[in-house]
Symmetry: C2
Subunit: 117 residues, 2 copies
């Protein structure tokens, strides 16, 4: 009888999703750079994770993509957050805060549960 339509599922299985969204929100960027940046930040991941993830964000309308070639480098697919993406990011952030609060409560709360009636 529990409603499971909350965004918790997305958080548990898709924490990376909104991390990537947040990275794109800061400034336009592209997949290869995101992979490297996440690695530097201690969130090592692989291209096999990021590219499908970006395709998902794009399909859901949270980001837009545009090919562009700068200088003499390889052409890159630059991603930019949409208004819908910004909204989603805000909600994601709140869900994230709720989530870590719940987890921290479970971790740190020394009081046993259900001992009092």
């Amino acid at each position: 009888m529990v409603e499971l339509t909350n965004p918790l599922i997305q958080i548990k299985k898709g924490a990376l999703d909104f991390c990537v969204l947040a990275i794109i929100a800061r400034r336009e960027t592209y997949g290869y750079e995101i992979v490297k940046f996440l690695g530097e930040q201690g969130l090592a991941t692989s291209e096999g994770t990021i590219y499908p993830l970006l395709a998902r964000l794009n399909k859901d309308g949270l980001v837009t993509a545009a090919w562009r070639q700068e200088d003499g480098g390889n052409p890159r697919k630059y991603y930019r957050v949409t208004a819908k993406g910004e909204t989603a990011l805000v909600m994601f952030k709140q869900s994230w805060l709720d989530f870590i609060e719940a987890v921290n409560c479970i971790l740190e709360g020394g009081v046993a549960h259900g001992t009092r009636t």
Copy 2:
């Protein structure tokens, strides 16, 4: 060339694992109660998630299980954390802190990445 043998994967896909471990660490408990407790804490989940999870923890030697019947109630399978489980929990906690720090850094850090050489 990135080493992906870190515990990050476990965290991303198994945040619940160590939540459950932490709950059991506080005091002996059983599956049905854990499900209800997680729901109260805002981490709604289902029995289809918890029972396989408990079986995994047990198989990995992080918890032990013992059937016991109290009063006139149904027999329950009580779980208790092992020494190995306690150790794993400590490491899990540290990984968790690292993880949320990395995520929060990405979320809150207003400084664009890679702009400086």
